[in-house]
Assembly symmetry: C2
């Protein structure tokens, strides 16, 4: 009658343990065993294996009480990963360890209208510089992640309308021998918030991470899962007002057409290029007069309306919002709740839905991509990417 859990492959188990270490930043074995639903014996075996591969370290620690745990397990900081972020204003490369320490950073200005040729030129130069740096130190980069705004949309990327096949081919060639993960910037942001020890993330448990910036994009963060913890959630182009404002996607009435930075720029009286220059923090909250705030509140109601609709389809008990809405005064942010109340079944109820805000992480690039790379590395079990074909088969099954 006792529950023998569903068996896992070694790769999965390794991934679970490694992800736990990445998320907690280090733990004693008992905590690992508890959180990964493994026995201490299994943890012991897995850790012995990981240690022999130099993926984890154990730092001796005075026991807090008689017979207490003695060694704190942490991810090895010998493992190098790289993060690359393309944002609307620059292309940044970074190399660091699994703890999020950046040992190398290189940032280049990049136009929001970057075309694919220019991108390749820019990328190739920076990639070569990074590789020179790693080669000099004899560092082997185990995983690279590149995050791009708008990436992953089936109907093409509305921000950088590039050919994805060409992009992949180019990257494979420009970063030879390094396993590469391509992802949406929002996913990387979510990874940043989840794994960075510096951000005090307001929720535990599954939630929706919503970013409202040049686009409006979401990620469902599945806290329970160590693999496939992030799944993109295309909410920005939900039509909430039939025959409403024209959106860049060609439709009318999308959430993005009401709440993106571009959409609110006329309200705050800045033109699009100015906004792009200032980045996500373009709102000077204190300088807004009351009718501007009222107009922005109206837009936040729209956001809430769409959010409520989304939560009807995909129930989650907490939502974390980042981007310009998180810079607004609390009174104004309440407009989002009003919108949710109009669409979420049963209305907004703080006992059933927690809504919180985190500041957009400006100037941290390419930290988010670095964390995402770390996530990719650990969720592959820390095994060589050559075995990825193998892994892919497993995931499918």
């Amino acid at each position: 009658m006792l529950g023998r859990a569903a068996p896992r492959s070694r790769r999965q188990t390794r991934a679970t343990v490694l992800e736990n270490l990445l998320r907690t930043g280090g733990a004693f074995r008992s905590a690992i065993a508890r959180e990964t639903r493994l026995t201490e014996a299994s943890v012991s075996r897995i850790l012995a294996e990981l240690r022999s591969e130099n993926l984890v370290q154990e730092t001796r620690h005075p026991a807090p009480y008689a017979g207490g745990p003695t060694s704190l397990v942490t991810l090895s900081n010998d493992v190098a990963v790289a993060g690359i972020e393309l944002s609307n204003s620059r292309l940044s490369f970074g190399v660091g360890d699994l703890g999020g320490t950046l040992d190398y950073v290189d940032r280049m200005p990049a136009s929001p209208q970057l075309d694919q040729d220019e991108f390749e030129r820019l990328f190739r130069t920076s990639a070569a510089a990074m590789q020179a740096w790693t080669d000099k130190r004899g560092i082997a980069v185990r995983q690279v992640a590149l995050s791009i705004p708008g990436y992953g949309r089936e109907a093409g990327n509305p921000i950088y309308p590039w050919d994805v096949t060409r992009l992949r081919d180019f990257l494979g060639e420009a970063l030879p021998g390094m396993p590469l993960a391509l992802t949406n910037s929002v996913v990387a942001q979510a990874a940043f918030h989840r794994y960075s020890p510096s951000t005090s993330y307001p929720v535990a448990g599954n939630h929706l991470f919503l970013f409202v910036g040049h686009g409006v994009a979401g990620v469902i963060v599945n806290e329970a899962a160590s693999i496939d913890a992030f799944s993109a959630f295309e909410i920005g182009h939900m039509v909430i007002e039939r025959n409403g404002l024209l959106c860049r996607c060609g439709h009318r009435g999308c959430i993005e057409a009401y709440t993106s930075l571009r959409a609110i720029s006329p309200i705050v009286g800045l033109d699009a290029s100015e906004i792009l220059n200032r980045g996500d923090s373009f709102i000077d909250v204190h300088g807004l007069d009351s009718d501007v705030r009222a107009a922005l509140r109206e837009r936040l109601v729209m956001l809430g309306l769409g959010l409520g609709n989304a939560l009807n389809l995909h129930p989650l008990s907490s939502v974390v919002i980042s981007g310009w809405p998180s810079l607004m005064p609390e009174d104004d942010r309440a407009a989002i709740i009003a919108g949710i109340d109009e669409s979420l079944l049963g209305g907004f109820d703080e006992r059933r839905l927690s809504l919180s805000f985190v500041a957009p992480s400006i100037g941290n690039d390419p930290r988010a991509a670095l964390y995402y790379a770390a996530y990719c590395f650990v969720s592959g079990g820390g095994l060589d990417a050559r075995a990825d074909a193998h892994a892919a088969l497993e995931e499918i099954a």
Copy 2:
């Protein structure tokens, strides 16, 4: 380099094999092995086990070619399951086998306004009759499924606003010793379409099954999965028109407020009670004059709009619609496509999204619940429900 698939528990493997048999209606071992991604050796072992428990049968079959397969494996028709359906007009009980054969049917009229007390009285009587029938024949019902319209909504059931805890307690007592699954009617319908050999279901692969009747509800049918193949998809209360028509959920502008039977009743000129009497087939298509049809088309556009929104959040490449829209002429149904085109990113494209229609399954009650019971039975591996605690643990892990 060869991919060893993620290991499965015996329960999972059994479930996979049994579900395959349920879906195909019987297969040769080679096909089972292929579709379940097991080796023939494993299939052999599992089938030996299942046969010893009388869950499967092998019927000898002349080999189609020299050395060809000789025994066709089918689910045993000794396994009894029961389906109970509450619809807006009646409560039906049925007992049958895993092949969908109904050996016992009992249907009682039930008011759409049935309150919980009346329901319990009605249910108890019918349950006793069913049990008398099974007892007389010495039949042990291995799984019961009860489907209720509107069931499973977090914010309570808008159709039968009952106390769910009380309902569960009551059912546990009224059906002693029988494992019970409670589900939404739409989920049962989806199971019916998936498993009934009589319905020619227009799609293969993951899809959304959408039913538009008294409510508007969807199910995501995950064809690849043998367990958790159905997940409810609450689409009816997506707000598509701010400050639009009042919905019974209290909000304004929900899809349901535009497209449910009750919502279109003024258009077709029938009052609500008349509609309830006629059931889902209330539309006499040939008798509709052109302005009524135009008005209904407008409602179908709304439905499509919401559907496109939903598909942005949850990409699927095919949708099957049942309910009154499937009774409309093809020209009118195209309005749904027009609506989708307004909201689905990239617009409607028949190469990326297939839309099809199936007639609502009227008068088949309680077949849908019976198939759902069969599904529940097999996805539990055909093991005694006593081991369910065990199973639950596994599922969580």
